[in-house]
């Protein structure tokens, strides 16, 4: 079997006297789309933050493939309001190659005509598309999505899902999606893991590319796993 690009072994995270994650064992494989689902406060975002290196585990071992390039897309866009949209992607790098790459990414997310404008002039969906373009500039092998579509309306959300899936397929990115939306997880992921009270309690296969009925069935299974104490099987 392929070696995982990220491996968490017996990982624990404690804030003060509150244990947020308990004995997490998780492998992330190259080219896979993994979704972590669960209710708010369950610890799924903390797993992403540990993988991204934004926080350190209290106990256990977390290893990443050497030289692994990761980029995070946060729930809020975290764009720099004082930079133009193009500069937000390139971080004002003046290297012609970087600028050219940033322009082609803006084209890929459908924001070519907004390159000289500022984030304040964009809608919520456009801001997240811009944030996606920014995340892709470094050509990451692993894309970490921390509920980036949570605040979008249903239609924009579906369009963003399609865009992420298109990029995932084209660029063969490994992707970790954190979401509380079971339909989103079922529709996008290869593998879905349910996080509850700081533990990984169930795992199932996603229904990406399958019929709407299959997606709905998977979503129902995942929802049941979130709400019940029993594990689910794929």
């Amino acid at each position: 079997m392929t070696n995982p690009i990220v491996q968490l072994q017996h990982v624990e995270k404690v804030y003060g006297d509150k244990t947020v994650l308990n004995d997490i064992q998780l492998n992330l494989y190259p080219g896979e789309f993994l979704a972590l689902v669960g209710m708010s406060g369950g610890g799924k975002s903390t797993i992403l933050r540990l993988i991204a290196g934004l926080e350190a585990p209290t106990a256990g071992h977390l290893s990443r493939e050497k030289g692994l390039v990761m980029r995070v897309m946060f729930q809020n866009d975290r764009l720099l309001p004082w930079l133009t949209n193009l500069d937000n992607v390139s971080f004002k790098n003046r290297d012609p190659e970087v600028i050219s790459e940033a322009k082609s990414l803006l084209h890929a997310v459908g924001l070519t005509d907004k390159s000289t404008g500022y984030p304040a002039q964009l809608s919520g969906g456009q801001k997240q598309r811009l944030a996606l373009a920014r995340a892709l500039l470094a050509k990451p092998q692993l894309l970490l999505l921390d509920e980036p579509l949570g605040a979008l309306d249903a239609l924009t959300r579906q369009r963003m899902q399609d865009l992420i899936l298109k990029i995932f397929t084209e660029q063969k990115l490994s992707t970790l999606l954190i979401t509380h939306d079971v339909n989103e997880a079922a529709r996008m992921a290869d593998r879905i893991i349910v996080v509850r009270d700081g533990q990984l309690v169930a795992e199932t296969t996603g229904a990406r590319g399958q019929s709407p009925e299959a997606v709905a069935q998977t979503a129902a299974r995942v929802l049941q796993a979130i709400l019940s104490e029993e594990p689910v099987t794929s």
């Binding site: 934004l54 975290r78 971080f91 500022y118 002039q121 964009l122 470094a138």
Partner: protein, 271 residues
């Protein structure tokens, strides 16, 4: 089945050409005061020897300009103001920047600066006169001290108030410390820093005028005090009018700096 009705937009009626009232409004109150003042003197509601008419004040201004008294005093005041602002503003800005960025220096310097800040700087006038006499350095130093604190406080707050989420994003995206400062921290602090500039410009004039009123042989403050000794109300009022104009000029400079550096704030959602 429900029918779908296509909604078409009515063509917008062409807006009538009208006066831009927003541009006119700011002038109404000053103009009304001038007209009221002129009328009050012309109709003898107030004694012209006590409060001369605006026309008399303007006439006095022209005479003083022609004999070189006014340009000389304005020039010396502007020199003191800009020199004091440049020195105090730079020191305040650099201190705010360093204290905002480097924690050990902050621990060392912030507390004494806060103590000094709470001393009313105009109370330092006697000290300055004793230490530096009534020459230029004393007045420039006083303006510099007055200007330094608002610049320090606002720069410091701007730097330390950098959005932690943007900082986290910058670090997660591999920005160097330098890039983190130039792309995230400093631009985020700029609004605060410019607010410091605006406030410091106000303090600059107040300090200078008080300093020139108490201990000077030239400058606008001196001109007003001198006129008061000779009961020249027209010159006193002329000086007050010039203060108002210089205050307005400072405001225009501050606004233009904000427009230049904070242009990204303009504009809303267009899609």
């Amino acid at each position: 089945m429900q029918e779908v009705t296509t909604l078409t937009q009515q063509p917008k009626r062409r807006a009538r050409r009208s006066v831009n009232w927003l541009k006119v409004l700011p002038w109404i109150v000053p103009l009304a005061i001038l007209i009221g003042w002129q009328a009050a003197v012309s109709f003898n509601w107030i004694t012209s020897s006590l409060i001369p008419a605006p026309t008399t004040v303007i006439q006095d201004g022209i005479t003083l300009w022609q004999n070189g008294e006014l340009p000389k005093n304005i020039a010396i005041s502007l020199y003191r103001a800009t020199a004091g602002f440049a020195i105090g503003g730079s020191v305040g800005f650099v201190l705010g920047l360093i204290n905002g960025l480097v924690k050990p220096i902050r621990a060392l310097l912030d507390s004494p600066i806060q103590m000094l800040r709470n001393i009313p700087h105009l109370s330092l006038i006697p000290l300055m006169i004793i230490l530096m006499g009534i020459g230029e350095p004393a007045k420039i130093a006083l303006v510099a001290i007055g200007v330094m604190f608002p610049m320090y406080i606002n720069t410091y707050q701007g730097i330390t108030g950098a959005d932690p989420e943007l900082l986290e994003m910058g670090r997660a995206y591999g920005l160097s410390r330098r890039a983190l400062f130039t792309r995230v921290i400093f631009p985020g602090a700029l609004a605060n820093i410019l607010m410091g500039v605006r406030y410091a410009l106000g303090v600059m004039w107040t300090t200078l005028i008080v300093a020139e009123t108490i201990s000077a042989t030239s400058g606008l403050g001196y001109m007003a005090t001198n006129a008061q000794e000779f009961m020249r109300m027209d010159t006193v009022l002329l000086c007050i009018l010039i203060y108002a104009l210089l205050g307005k000029l400072s405001d225009v400079i501050a606004k233009n700096l904000e427009r230049l550096f904070l242009s990204w704030r303009q504009g809303g959602v267009d899609a």
